[in-house]
């Protein structure tokens, strides 16, 4: 039915729908949790009419930070997929998230504590920024290593295989570092599984900073990603300074991955699923797909976190477990469909 509507209208509708989903996730995310708050109370607290630390100090930074993390993963996933012309390229599957997590854990353990998951502990209030920068190097190195091992990004099977190898080795190394501090293993484990529980306002500020840094170049280069879909030779023949642009895209996407991982650990599949679902609605124009993936990733992760907080109340699941449980079967479905087509 929606196919019959004019294209521009259909596209605007998708964006409106995403914004609505985001708003819904915000309201529900703040209202629901270990304790459910009535909507009136939530509204009053959000508008600053009534003091409510559960809303302003705990849930709001968690929901907003979670949305930023989801947006970062969605945009990074779409960018990787466009850059490598590979529908399965994703920060999680390519090992870059594991690279960032390893680097962050390494930095934290070098500094005498463990991961920035402990931002809630006062000692780590200053860490997230440096951790993100360090994570950026980790994400970038892991991505490059995966590309080298796969012999480029053209062959999907090799790329995923290399990414899984790089990711597993780095996750193993991260686990080793974690075990050095047995007292905190449980908490760090929860962090590496992907967790928004540690997000506070300092983390949100770091995320905003990295967003402002990495998002504009990606959004502005949507057309370059479109041209890349015609193949590198054609993109080059159109005059684009491709080597520099590809590096810029890779750096910006890795920055987003690092920002997300430093704050929330490894959250799988958001970067894979979000652009895929949106591609079906919007096509593959990256000028639309990138901003839509930001909104969609934000809504998806905020809603997944809602499940993580409420499914096993009063206990919480790491949100990474929820996204992996939802995303794994989706990934299999994609593989199956590709095989069906080949």
């Amino acid at each position: 039915m929606i196919q019959a509507l004019p294209l521009a209208f259909r596209r605007s509708l998708v964006f409106l729908w995403l914004l609505f989903l985001l708003l819904l996730a915000l309201v529900l995310g703040v209202a629901l949790g270990a304790v459910n708050l009535p909507p009136g109370e939530v509204l009053q607290a959000l508008l600053g009419l009534k003091e409510n630390p559960i809303v302003t100090e705990m849930r709001l930074p968690r929901v907003l930070g979670g949305m930023l993390v989801g947006a970062a993963l969605g945009v990074a996933g779409a960018s990787f997929q466009g850059l490598f012309r590979n529908p399965l390229a994703d920060p999680y599957l390519m090992g870059s998230a594991a690279g960032a997590a390893f680097a962050v854990t390494l930095l934290a353990s070098l500094l005498g504590g463990l991961s920035p998951a402990f931002a809630q502990h006062a000692i780590f209030q200053g860490l997230p920024l440096s951790a993100t920068l360090f994570g950026f190097l980790g994400a970038l190195s892991a991505t490059l290593l995966t590309l080298v091992l796969a012999g480029g990004a053209a062959r999907t099977g090799e790329l995923v295989l290399a990414g899984v190898v790089v990711g597993s080795v780095l996750t193993g190394a991260t686990t080793y570092l974690m075990l050095q501090d047995a007292d905190r293993v449980r908490a760090v484990f929860a962090y590496t599984l992907g967790n928004l529980a540690f997000l506070g306002w300092p983390g949100v500020r770091v995320l905003v900073l990295f967003f402002l840094l990495a998002l504009p170049p990606l959004l502005l280069l949507g057309r370059v990603l479109n041209a890349l879909q015609l193949g590198e030779e054609v993109a080059k023949s159109l005059g684009l300074p491709l080597e520099g642009l590809k590096l810029l895209l890779l750096l910006a996407a890795s920055l987003l991955v690092a920002a997300a991982v430093a704050q929330a650990g490894i959250i799988g599949f958001v970067g894979l699923i979000t652009p895929h679902l949106l591609r079906r609605l919007l096509g593959e124009d990256y000028r639309l797909l990138l901003p839509a993936s930001a909104l969609g990733g934000a809504a998806l992760l905020a809603l997944a976190d809602l499940l993580a907080r409420t499914l096993t109340r009063p206990a919480e699941l790491p949100v990474g477990v929820v996204t992996t449980l939802l995303g794994g079967p989706f990934f299999l479905y994609l593989m199956w469909r590709r095989r069906g087509r080949a």
């Binding site: 012309r85 015609l230 005059g239």
Partner: protein, 250 residues
């Protein structure tokens, strides 16, 4: 000096010293068996590969001396097959052809819109402008990709096997289009694998083992001895309406 000229091209890969030129207003077909270096030579002339020795001149200036956008405005290149964006609308694909004129930040103006319309029109792609590229047949898709190359309104058009997988109806249209573009002053260089298609060009260049075997008007080049040397003893040439027709004597 007008034209796009390759002089003494050695390397990369198979090329062992090739001279070839295409002038504005002429259609040149580049023919040769698999592995003869046709596609490589085309890429060298498009500025996508640099030769070990030799040079490419565009309007008398070395190709390297041009900025990449300036080069893209003058030369359009269409590879054989290659990846294509299934999820982009036809019109968006053709618009990408304006990138050499727009650069990264340029806004599309009237001239760009007109060029896109013209390219869609001459290739017969306008009627599926609103469809996704992935929903088109092979022949329709090829028209769109050609429209993308033409949207830059280049002075030289370099095509790698543009006729592969085309049915006769579209084949005729494409060959007529190439002739028409040349008649309007464009220099067209097309790698072809079918000597009968090459016979329709203004000039045919034959590449074998990285060297230019022959070059000239189709009737002078496409002779039985030459084609038998390329494709085997069973090849025959008949002359119909003054044009060579190549067939196999099975």
């Amino acid at each position: 000096m007008e034209g796009l000229e390759a002089k003494g091209i050695v390397g990369p890969y198979a090329l062992l010293g090739v001279d070839l030129a295409v002038r504005p207003g002429e259609w040149v077909a580049l023919l040769g068996p698999n592995g003869s270096g046709k596609s490589t030579l085309l890429r060298v002339m498009a500025g996508l590969l640099w030769p070990r020795s030799g040079k490419v001149l565009l309007e008398g200036r070395p190709l390297r001396a041009y900025g990449s956008y300036a080069r893209g405005q003058l030369l359009a290149y269409l590879p054989q097959g290659g990846p294509y964006p299934e999820g982009l609308l036809v019109e968006e694909v053709v618009r990408l052809g304006r990138l050499p004129h727009l650069g990264l930040w340029g806004q599309e103006g009237r001239e760009d819109g007109e060029a896109v319309e013209w390219a869609l029109e001459v290739t017969g792609a306008s009627r599926f402008r609103g469809r996704y590229l992935g929903s088109l047949s092979g022949g329709e898709r090829q028209r769109v990709l050609l429209a993308r190359a033409l949207a830059a309104r280049p002075r030289y058009l370099l095509l790698d096997e543009p006729t592969t997988f085309l049915d006769l109806e579209y084949l005729g249209g494409l060959l007529a289009l190439l002739r028409g573009l040349a008649a309007k002053g464009m220099g067209v260089l097309a790698v072809l694998h079918d000597p009968n298609q090459a016979a329709l060009a203004d000039r045919v260049a034959v590449l074998k083992g990285g060297r230019l075997l022959a070059e000239g008007r189709p009737e002078a080049v496409l002779t039985e001895p030459l084609l038998q040397g390329l494709y085997g003893q069973g090849v025959r040439v008949a002359h119909l309406g003054g044009r060579p027709h190549v067939y196999l004597d099975a």
